[in-house]
Amino acid sequence: MFHTVSSSNAPKLGRTRGRRCRTALITGVVLAIAGGAVALVGVASAGAKVAAKPLVVWIDTSRVAYQKAYMKANPHANIKWVIYNGNANGTGVLQSKFALWNRTGWPSNAPDVMFDTQNYDAVQLGTPPYNDLLNLKSYVPKSVLNNFAKGSLSACTTPTGQVICLRNDSAAAVLWVNPGLYSQFFGSAPVPTTWQGILADGQALNTAHPGYLVGDVGDAFDEDYYLWGNECPLNQVVGKGTIAINPNSSNCTGIAKAIDASGDMGKSLSQTSVFGSSFNPNKVVMMVGPLWYGTAVFQTGATGGVPNGTMVAYPPPAAINGAHVTGALGGGLWLVSKHTSNPKAAAAFAQYMATSPKIQKVGVDAGLPQYVPDENSYLSSLSSVFANPSTTEAAWKTAASEVWTGWSPVPWSTDAVWGSTALSTLTASPPGSFAAQLLPYAQALANQARLAGFTVKSPVSAVANGS
């Protein structure tokens, strides 16, 4: 490279200024382009050629147990399994692939069936501008659809009534309790049934037993429990392309002020993420969280986690306004591509995965099956994992039927918005006010809604008109 210096200086030709400028301009263009990073979206390589075209199925790593169970039951099935991230946490893998393929044509190795962990994805991918999901109404018998738990297909139904996915499992939030710790600190007092009760127990722990926890404010998805679980109307689709957002609702301010007044944040409400390296599940006296927390967050039976037979699920706390509702986080959907060459086989496969007892009994990590006939055999497999399995079973069923439907599936991640607006304040020491997060969060949600082409309705002018 060093001779470049001398050669650029060597030819002493009497260039005109204009030419020099032009050279500068062209070089500027080249340098700017060369300096720019080009993000290439990788496309999965084509599968090996076989006689009949295999069904291409995309799953996440947690569903590998399903793959094994399926191949054991159907050893000769012609299926190409592809592992991807399940679209986790709004990473939008499916959105990006679909958007590209809609412009360039769908490749032959595009997935026919996909497992998706984001509840809001189906409606986005199944409606314009995407419109890429198969309407399962014509492929899955009505009797099967009717056997899904009440309301569980709401995130799978488009405004025009198409059924564009099958719900795999419920991820409703329950109150997870460590009964050993609870009786140690609170004796024979009954487990709280309200948010106020949980926060009051937290206050007792703050002074008497610091370090023990009644919940968490350190994660981007905590608003799914505190706000969704209190009927706080910040994410309510009220008509085609219209969303209602009201941060001043007493359902929102009630829980927020209760949290602030308790002084629990940073004490018995953990500021550490439940997936953080310093989070100790053995310090959790109780915690509101989805069904799958039971094994995933408390790491039941694993090193550093709680031993088998420790945790018990209780029904989710009643909202501040007294309603018996709860929030949810995760769970999964089975999606079928509209561009599949064999819609009949693809739909039949999705139906099998979502409903077969051979699949739905696998893996406690997954939540309660939403196909009701599978629930009992699934629950019976939990007895070795949780203490008091009958209480846990009952709590799960209660929670699954109490998920508030006013928190709508929308094409943006409410968790990501909570994370980027509220999290840094709530995790600071000392923590800022929870109630003070409601307005900026509502404004940010409104901005996301407008970006996605929604009309925002709000009694708060800063939310309705944008900032």
Binding site: M1, F2, A32, I33, R103, A220
Partner: protein
């Protein structure tokens, strides 16, 4: 102060090796060879540089009613448009200033050292650059998490107890500047060192005989002679920095959303294209970035007299 007229004397041995005639004109045969070699680059430039740029312009300018600037106006009014550019401006300000000052100082220092010691230093400076992009973000995640960082005591000094505290929105420009500095500075130190080596030995000796100390030589002889390389570094770094994408994107995934997926303009464009299927608006933002990069490049090349012969 003006530098002696012949800033860089063509290295005679190099000239001989590259078959130059005395007048500095390449021989006829080597000119053909030159075109031949450049042709490969031109093909790649057309396919991977020019063609996507033309495509981006076509997408950005095509509106339902024919050619127009609707997508530019559209995106300009997005709530995240101005903040994204403010973020980048703040990041570039911190990064480019600190990189320029530190790289030049370190290169000048290394150049005054004995060759054996200096090569060891250059190697050490270059090492962090071996982890670029996604890999470096993962390492930095550990460095910024007070629970895992070897520099936890520094983070505790700022009252950061959690990763979420360290990557709070106000800290992000500094954090990305630190990442970018360690990724890129080593490479630039090596390049600056090369440029310094290109300064004729006689020139430095002459200065020393005239009584110039090491500090004066560095400041008054060496620094002006590598000015063009500094401008070159600024042009490339500005273009790369304005297109910041990988770092905020991966940090956002790792912190489960604490960083907005529309933090930088490039992220906003990606979100528009691949989350909302709005390719035309995304292309408009890409064109904005290209135009800004070009303007700054032209300004620096022109004001920095990058192609002038002294």
């Amino acid at each position: 102060m003006t530098v002696p007229s012949a800033t860089v004397v063509p290295d005679e041995r190099a000239s001989a090796r590259w078959g130059r005639r005395a007048g500095g004109q390449p021989a006829g045969g080597s000119r053909t060879a030159g075109y031949f070699f450049v042709a490969f680059y031109v093909v790649l430039l057309l396919a991977l540089g020019i063609a996507p740029t033309v495509y981006a312009f076509a997408l950005a300018l095509s509106t339902p009613g024919g050619l127009g600037f609707a997508h530019f106006i559209n995106t300009f009014n997005f709530f995240d448009f101005a903040p994204a550019f403010e973020h980048i401006l703040e990041f570039e300000g911190i990064w480019l200033v600190s990189q320029t000052i530190l790289v030049v100082i370190l290169a000048l220092m290394v150049h005054t050292l004995v060759r054996r010691v200096s090569s060891a230093f250059r190697f050490v400076f270059y090492l962090p650059g071996a982890m670029a992009g996604a890999a470096s973000v993962v390492v930095w995640l550990f460095m910024f998490d007070p629970h895992t960082s070897p520099w936890a005591f520094v983070l505790h000094g700022f009252h950061y107890r959690l990763l979420a505290n360290t990557v709070a929105p106000g800290n992000l420009p500094v954090i990305f500047a630190i990442m970018a500095f360690f990724t890129g500075a080593g490479g630039w130190i090596v390049i600056m060192y090369g440029a310094l080596n290109n300064i004729p030995r006689e020139l430095i000796e002459a200065a020393e005989i005239d009584g110039s100390n090491a500090f004066q030589t560095a400041l008054r002889i060496k620094l002006p002679l590598i000015r063009k390389w500094i401008v070159y570094m600024l042009v490339l770094s500005f273009a790369a920095g304005s297109q910041l994408f990988v770092e905020p994107q991966i940090l956002g995934v790792a912190t489960v959303g604490e960083i907005s997926p529309q933090w930088s303009p490039n992220q906003l464009a990606y979100y528009l294209a691949f989350q909302l299927d709005r390719f035309n608006d995304a292309a408009a933002i890409s064109v904005d970035l290209l135009v800004i990069g070009l303007l700054v490049a032209v300004l620096l090349v022109w004001r920095g007299r990058l192609f002038e012969v002294d």
